[in-house]
Every structure is written in C-alpha cells, then in structure tokens.
Amino acid sequence: MSFEDADAFYATLVHALEPLDKDEAFRFLCRLALILANEIGRHEVLQAALEEAAAARPPRQEDSAERSSS
C-alpha cells in the first residue's frame, strides 16, 4: 500500500495544522496517530512503523555537539 495522492494528503495535513499552536498540534497528531493505527490494525506493521519513525529522527543539536567534542 502507498499513497493514492501524496500531495493532496500533505496539503490537507498542512491545512489542518496551520491554525494550531504547538500544544494543539501535538494533540491533533496524537489523535491522528491513534486513528491511523486502528485503521492499520496489524501489530507487526505498527511495530515496524514505530521503529521506522524512531530511526528517522534527525540528530539534535546537542547530539552533534557531543560528538564533535569527543
């Protein structure tokens, strides 16, 4: 499975997030994650998605600072 229309989805997501502050946006994304997780259902797929999301985290400023100093 993949996006039917990635551009349309992204645009809709941006449209939904734009009026929200950080806290409201975080809550929105929490609800969205739970709704989508229910749509997917299969534990194996969800597990892989969680790992993928964790692996794709960009290095933080302090992480790279630590690395350069060591």
């Binding site: 806290d23 975080f26 809550r27 929490c30 609800r31 739970l34 709704i35 229910n38």
Partner: protein
Amino acid sequence: MPLRAESSEQNHCFAAAPIPESARIEPERAPVVIAGAGLVGLTLAVDLVLQGIPVVVLEKRDRFGEGSRSICQAKRTLEIWDRLGAAEAMLKRGVTWKVGRVFHREQLLYSFDLLPESGHKMPAFINLQQFHVEAALIERLQALGASVRWCHELKQLAASAAGVLLEVETPAGSYQIDTEWLVDCEGVRSCARRALNLRFEGEIFADKFLICDVKIHRTDFPTERWFWFEPPFHAGQTALLHRQADDVWRIDLQLTRDADPEVERDPARVTERITRMLGHSDFSIEWVSVYAFQCRTLERYVHGRVIFAGDSAHQVSPFGARGGNGGVQDADNLSWKLARVVSGRAPPALLESYHSERKAATLENILNSTRSTNFMSPRTEVTRILRDEALALAGRHSFARPLVNPGRLSVPAHLTASQLITPDRDSWSTGRLAPGSPAIDAPIRLSSAPGSPAVDAPGRRGPAQSAHNGTGAASDDGWLLRLLGNRFVLLVQPESTDAKLPRNFEAGAESVAILAVGRDFEDCGGLVKQRYDLTPGAAYLFRPDQHVAARWRVGSEELVRQAVNRCLGLL
C-alpha cells in the same frame, strides 16, 4: 470523623499456640512448614492436608491483617477454593458482580459485562474482604484436623541440602523445627527472603494511592466496578469505587507523586475527599492506607529447600486483581507437586516446574500491571497528553475504547509452554482447552447416584444465582470440576456404550482415575461434549490442579503413561 473500630469479626484475636512438647527436647521434625497464614499460605495448607501431607503453619500475628486488602476473587480462584471444599461460605458472603463502568470526567466512556457463560458453578468474580476468605480457609483447615500456630514467628533459618532448620519464637519461648521443605508465604515482609538475602527485580512506581474501606449507610451505587479518569471530585487523578460484603465499599484514590502519606491518611482529609466523591457524609471510614504501585519478582521461586509463593515471591499493582489471585494459583500449582515429592512419588526436580510455570504467569501479570499503571499514571508530560487524547477519542469512537486501560482483570494462567505438558498432535476446535489450560466447568449428573437431586439446568440462570439461591449444596456434585477433584484424571468419551473401561489406570506410582462420559456421569446439558470437543474415543488427561496435561482423539495406555510421567518430571 474518627476512624471506626474494625469490625469485631476481623479484630478477633486467636490464642497463641503452645510449643509442641517434643520440641522442648529436640527440634520438631516436619515434612513441610508454611510460613504465613494469609490467603496463599492457607490455600496451600488446606490443599496439602487434603493430599495427605501434614503441615505446620506458622503465623507471627494473633489476628487477620488490617483492612480489606485483596477483595476481588476471580472465577479460577473460586474454582480452586471449591476444589478444597471452602468456596460455599465465601459465595454466600461475597458480592457477585460482572458489570464495570469507566468514566472520563463526567462522561461514561463505556461499560463492560464480564458475561460469564451459563453452565459454570462459579461466577466471574466475587468481592469479599480478604479476612472473610481467610476465615473460611481456617475453618476448612480445622475441619480437616489441622490448625494455624498463631503467634509463632519464624526468626531465622539455616538451609542445607537435606532440609531447613527453623528458629521459631513464641510468647512462651523459642523452639526449633527441622523441616524438609519451607514454603514462604509471608508476603512483602518475609523473614526467609531476608535470611537468604534475595532481592526483587522490577519497578516501584512513584505514584501513590489512598485506599479506604468505607461503610456507606445510604447509597444509590449499584454493585458494579466504577472507575474514573480525571473525576470531577478528584481533579486530574483516577478513582475506583467497588462494593464488598457488609455494605463496605473499597475506594482507591490516586494521589500526586509528591503526596505525603502521613498527611493523606489524616481522617479529616480522607473524610473531606470521600464526601466530595459521594456527595454526602453518611458514611464511616473503616480503614485507610497509602500504597505505591509495585511490579516486582524474585528471579527464582525455588531456592533449594525453600520455596516462595504469593507476595513473598512477586508483587503487582492491584488494579487487575492479580496479586491475591496470582498467589492462590501459586499454591494450586505447588501443592500437588510438593505432595508427590514429599511422599517420594516424584523427584525433587519436579519443583523446578513450579518455578518455571509460575514465573511465566508472574511475568504476564507484571506486563499487564505495568501497562495499566503507565496508562493510569503517565510518566511524562508527552505521554500524559497522548493518554488524554486517547480518552478523548474513546468518548467519541468505540474503536478507541480498547486503548483505555483501567486495569486488565485477572485471568487464569495457561501453562502452554510448560515442559510438563504434552503438546497437541491432533486437531481440536477448542483452543481455550489446549494442553496447559485450566479445565472448563460444565454441569453434569452423577450416574452412580440416580436418586440424587437434579443438577441446575444450564438455562438462563447464571451460575452466580445458582450459587446464591440456596440450592448450592444440592448441586454440589453436579459440576465437572468437582468431579475432577485433586488427582490425575483421564476424561474419556467411550467409543461405544458397551466399551469396557477400567476405573483406574496405574502409571508408575500414580493412579489415574478414569471418568467415562455416560458411565461415571451424564453430560446432561451436552456442554461437556461441546466445550471439550469430544468425539468417540477422545480423552483428556488432567493434572491434580485441573490443568489439561494432554489430549488425544484416540488415546492409548502408552500415550497416557508417557504423559503422566512427563507431568511428574520423569521424562
């Protein structure tokens, strides 16, 4: 409002037991000593005595523990106590319930009905104060000619390969017991665990709970389990309201992490909180305590000749009713093995399976308890927001309700990974009876007593009602689990009505009772056949703790003998 005195029944003082005469000259000899007369120690004591093993039960106190403590007695636990002949008194006194409601603020998120299917002797749950349960077990123990040694405190022990030498202190002086086996059921403050210098592995959570027993003099609350996230009367926290016997209600209120237990226990403060919760002050407080959630276990439950059971082996947070119910299953698992080791019918190595089977069950309990705790009491700001949004979704959409976790209630352990179990080779439609699973009850009629009172029909009446309508005694033998008892049993569906089956089958030192459908009992409601997926020639082998050891579409003497030997640790 001052704290009321505990009810006189709970506060009953037992007389200190005398020191046995012979123990004044040399150490008393005993095959098994049980330290601690709580519900786990008492369950084990009754079970061992029923299996012909004399026990010494040491209890340092002279009375029951304070408060209601472990109140939710689950179906499997009741079935174990019924096997011991102690459940009738508990059913009469306890409060049967099956409906739970979960609220978020003012809103009912969902309700659940544990819906016990009909045709079981025991209900899904009863609520009964732990001291009432212990009183019933003590009465049963006395009826069997045994007793508890009140005010006998285990002070020190010296374990060797052959046994354990115990130092016991009583008001009349000290004495020694030289025992082959010590089973420690002393709970959180165990002497044996300290003496062996054993540590728990696991977590103590930062959150604290205020736990109260409250006698409510007028109430509209039904006999249900009510749980609140962020209740209007207790902002930002959780609360639980649950009915027990004697018009006493259990109330659990979550406290903030920095709460001071001494301040929170103050009666005026507790009264104020509960008045806010109930909307009136027509109640009296019977007991108050503050506790922290814990999910901890010993690494091993068997240390040479010292065996740990119940809270002295493991502790879980209380919202799944897994502490007491888990401990009783420990006793159920241990007693038949220990009885056979003591009487030389099985090697001591069999006790290793007590550790492996019950450790697996504990890890399952800890997993469930930890998940519930993390939902009820999120550890970070971010996970708190996630939790709140899950609750918000659950209020609008049924799909999100499974995410809401106010405690996952105790279910019996399925020992399907155990070495003692013979895995299925044939195909069966009943996965819930796969080898390792506990037996499932069904109404039967004993063939040997055609004139005996009719068994309750498995109609619309629930099992709870049948146990409570006063006919419980008449239907006492009309249940499959009662017939299985505490022995090895082969349940057989004969291939034909004229099949010649023996009454017993000798497998080494073990005698297996053969129960043939139609010969030994009638499957009057057809539920045995249906629940066990019985076809002509099919057979189930049950362990003495009523777990399925093996099953075959077509059994043979050799297959049964192998399965029994495997159960005894002989293969």
